[in-house]
């Protein structure tokens, strides 16, 4: 059976070139990059190379990149250390109702520590309206965290515009963006966009798991989240994950050598998929604006690789497993089951009907996804949705 992997927002297949360089770093250049001898030097070169590739991809200086264990650590560091860096200036933090748990949970921690937090609502397509942000900003605001791309529905936030509003109103405030789903998928240049802190995860971009980085703009000094031997200029201690970072560097280079081409391809796949949903009874696409403009234009306002669809009357977990039987791998829009309700915050925030919360799947594409795979997946949905819709509770 052909394997059709449409869960690239969960994680991606590691590029063979990235896996090769990681293996090489493990088997040959196994030194500790802090060691003074040649083995250490050799290992350090992989890190330098990766940092250079990343800096080029963002058009930022190399020193602004701190390698972390992945997106979660980057978000934790940005929020916890970002708030601490500005604690003398104020006490107010702004974020949105649709952030990933790795932003939401640190924010809750900050709330426990005494910070006041505003959770911004979003519109029916998952976008923060600039005026909502303007209204929420106060003299006391020190940190604003808004994701670049929502992981559940693929909404793309107008972060350049939002960052500008923040800095104009309150020059001291830090603007953080969780770009874990956005990096590489949309053109983001933090310096130009006025982003102070930006989190990225490697494994969403065909690099190994356990890799990622935090961009910290020049002249901004954060205290570390992790203390120890003082690696990475005291900013993030712990022996660097050399194989992972080497793989990340190669994956980033590969992606950005083809970024435009990949983006166009992803948009084409998403559009093909969204169009095909018209023939699936009861299917409702989330996060793509309605309107008279052509679908292509409306899709261009969203992230290129994520499509969220609710299937009326079908339980997402059942449909997910039924697709799996056909070799098609997707995610449920919200990780929930009858015993453990954890209904998605994003779907609720964009006003998805209660009966659809548990009927929503996320399809996410990669640069390798083929038209034919979209067609097979769409055909499978046309076949399964009416059948599974017959069997329900109650």
């Amino acid at each position: 059976m052909r394997e059709i992997y449409l869960d690239n927002a969960a994680t991606t297949k590691v590029l063979p070139k990235a896996a090769d360089v990681a293996a090489e770093a493990m088997r040959e250049s196994y030194g500790n990059p802090s060691s003074l001898h040649h083995k250490g030097f050799e290992a350090e070169q992989y890190i330098k190379e990766a940092r250079r590739n990343i800096a080029l991809s963002l058009k930022v200086p190399e020193e602004t990149i701190i390698f972390t264990s992945g997106g979660t650590e980057s978000n934790n560091m940005a929020l916890l250390c970002g708030a601490e860096a500005r604690k003398r200036q104020g006490n107010h933090i702004i974020t949105t109702r649709i952030e990933h748990a790795s932003v939401y949970q640190p924010v809750l921690r900050l709330e426990e520590l005494g910070y006041r937090v505003t959770f911004l609502p979003v519109d029916e397509n998952g976008r923060v309206r600039p005026e909502t942000l303007s209204e929420a900003l106060t003299d006391d605001t020190i940190l604003v965290s808004i994701m670049a791309v929502n992981n559940e529905i693929g909404a793309a936030e107008p972060i350049t515009e939002l960052a500008k509003i923040v800095h104009e109103r309150n020059p001291q405030a830090l603007f953080h963006t969780d770009a874990i789903q956005g990096y590489g998928k949309l053109p983001i240049f933090p310096k130009r966009a006025g982003i102070d802190l930006m989190s990225v995860s490697g494994h969403k971009l065909h690099a190994p798991k356990g890799t990622g980085f935090l961009y910290v703009r020049e002249k901004l000094t954060l205290k570390p989240l992790i203390y120890g031997g003082g690696q990475q200029k005291d900013r993030r201690s712990g022996t660097e994950n050399v194989p992972g970072i080497a793989g990340l560097g190669v994956a980033v280079k590969e992606w950005f050598d083809h970024a435009d081409e990949y983006r166009n391809h992803l948009y084409a796949m998403k559009e093909r998929f969204v169009r095909a949903m018209e023939d699936v009874p009861g299917a409702i696409v989330n996060g793509v604006p309605q309107g008279n403009e052509p679908l292509t234009e409306r899709i261009a306002m969203t992230a290129p690789h994520i499509a969220s669809v609710s299937f009326t009357g079908v339980r997402s977990e059942v449909l997910l497993h039924a697709l799996e039987e056909k070799g098609i791998y997707v995610s449920s829009g919200s990780a929930c089951s009858s015993n453990h309700p954890a209904i998605s915050g994003t779907l609720k925030a964009i006003g998805v009907r209660d009966d659809l919360l548990d009927s929503t799947l996320r399809f996410s594409f990669s640069f390798e996804t083929a038209e034919e795979e979209i067609d097979i997946a769409a055909a499978a949905l046309r076949e399964l949705v009416p059948v599974l819709g017959r069997y329900r509770r109650g």
Binding site: H321, E325, S337, N339, R393
Partner: protein, 394 residues
């Protein structure tokens, strides 16, 4: 260091002429359980006792863990063995026992003696008195208390002489294998693993049947059942787990029969299939985790209708247990944490909002006639396509 364990059994000691059969079963089970810990344990019968002699450098905690899971063990005592039955050697051994194993000697004690060797020159009261006096000389801080001693200093004189002070409760019951085999209907819930444990505790070998319904139940739900079987196999010994695909039958019932009867009808077919497998495995009974009134399918009326399809007796060890009591056992035997993992089992997939609670067997039979044209064929298919996994304790 204790060189051996003395094992006391309760119930099988009351047997008559076939007592040695039960003792042999217990010896076999103890050997089996210890095999995972190491291979040089000597397990042998002595009148009224079983002795486990441990190899040099054995792991005390692992050994206790293994012994304490063997059904039929009423109590176990870590013992030291005297190097001879010479009186002076016995006294020396008593002294060194206290030196090694009694840290707090500012306590009360009484000497007990079991004189299995009726030809031993001293009689029990004399042995007790002499050892007591000797210990008082050696350890002046000890005090005698014949009513409520804190330290029960016990000397057993048999072919050899054993000394112990501590006795720990075992699980009780009867050794597995002395009472034939039963088929457990195992789900991923809290109750059925406990039911299997309890029946097994009466000396019964257990095999199990699980009904899964892909895509309505997931791979993880199946893995959870395998994990549960593995946990109870630490007590019951190896289990043949039969995995039956029930989707087709479930759908068929859904399509043809009144929805408020679904669960009962499903249960009836599960019982039929489990009984067929039970007979193939030479099982003498079915075992379920049902408890009166716990859910709609476990009312007195429902139990009558599901029971009606079975020829074999159906044992329901939890029938009069409250949920909290069942939970307490599942925590004790270590299945609880796995049982509460949130994966669907096929009984909860599409329960009606108001299932029948007082079904009548005749009415169920009438509904089942709606299935007559295909159900036998589907049942055969479910049986012939089932997977059997042999689950071994880890």
């Amino acid at each position: 260091m204790y060189q051996a364990f003395l094992i006391k059994y309760a119930e099988i000691g009351l047997k008559g002429n076939n007592r040695s059969y039960f003792e042999d079963c217990l010896v076999k089970q103890i050997r089996y359980s210890l095999r995972a810990v190491g291979d040089s344990y000597q397990v042998r019968k002595e009148p009224g006792r079983i002795f486990v002699e441990c190899p040099e450098g054995y792991d005390y905690d692992d050994t206790v863990e293994a012994i304490s899971k063997v059904f039929g063990v009423a109590e176990y005592c870590p013992v030291e063995i005297c190097k001879s039955t010479e009186w002076d050697d016995i006294l020396a051994a008593c002294r060194s026992y206290v030196e090694r194993n009694v840290a707090d000697r500012n306590t009360t004690f009484k000497v007990f003696c079991k004189r299995g060797d009726k030809n031993y020159p001293k009689e029990s009261p004399e042995i007790c008195a002499d050892i007591g006096e000797y210990l008082l000389q050696c350890f002046p801080e000890l005090k005698v208390d014949v009513v409520n001693p804190k330290l029960r200093f016990t000397v057993e004189v048999r072919g050899r002489v054993y000394i112990y002070t501590d006795s720990f409760p075992g699980p009780g019951g009867m050794p597995v294998g002395c009472n034939g085999k039963a088929m457990l209907l195992l789900s991923g819930g809290i109750d059925s693993p406990v039911a299997g444990y309890m029946i097994s505790k009466r000396g019964v070998y257990i095999d199990a049947t699980y009904f899964h319904a892909p895509p309505y139940t997931s791979e993880r739900a199946l893995q959870k059942v395998i994990d549960l079987a593995r946990i109870i196999s630490r007590y019951t010994g190896p289990i043949h787990l039969n995995i039956v695909n029930f989707t087709e039958i479930q759908m068929f019932i859904y399509d043809r029969c009144p929805h408020d009867e679904l669960t009962i009808l499903m249960r009836r077919y599960m019982m039929r299939i489990a009984e067929r497998i039970a007979k193939e495995h030479d099982c003498l009974a079915l075992v379920t985790g049902e408890s009166i009134g716990q859910v709609a399918s476990q009312t007195m009326h429902s139990l009558v209708t599901t029971n009606a399809v079975c020829e074999l007796p159906v044992y329901r060890p939890l029938i009069a247990f409250d949920k909290e009591d069942i939970v307490a056992i599942s925590k004790k035997i270590g299945t609880y944490e796995t049982s509460i993992l949130p994966y669907e089992d096929c009984c909860t997939i599409y329960v009606a909002k108001h299932p029948v609670t007082k079904p009548i067997t005749k009415a169920m039979e009438k509904s089942e006639r709606l299935l007559a044209d295909q159900i036998d064929e589907m049942t055969e298919r479910a049986l012939s396509t089932r997977q059997v996994i042999r689950i071994m304790p880890e």
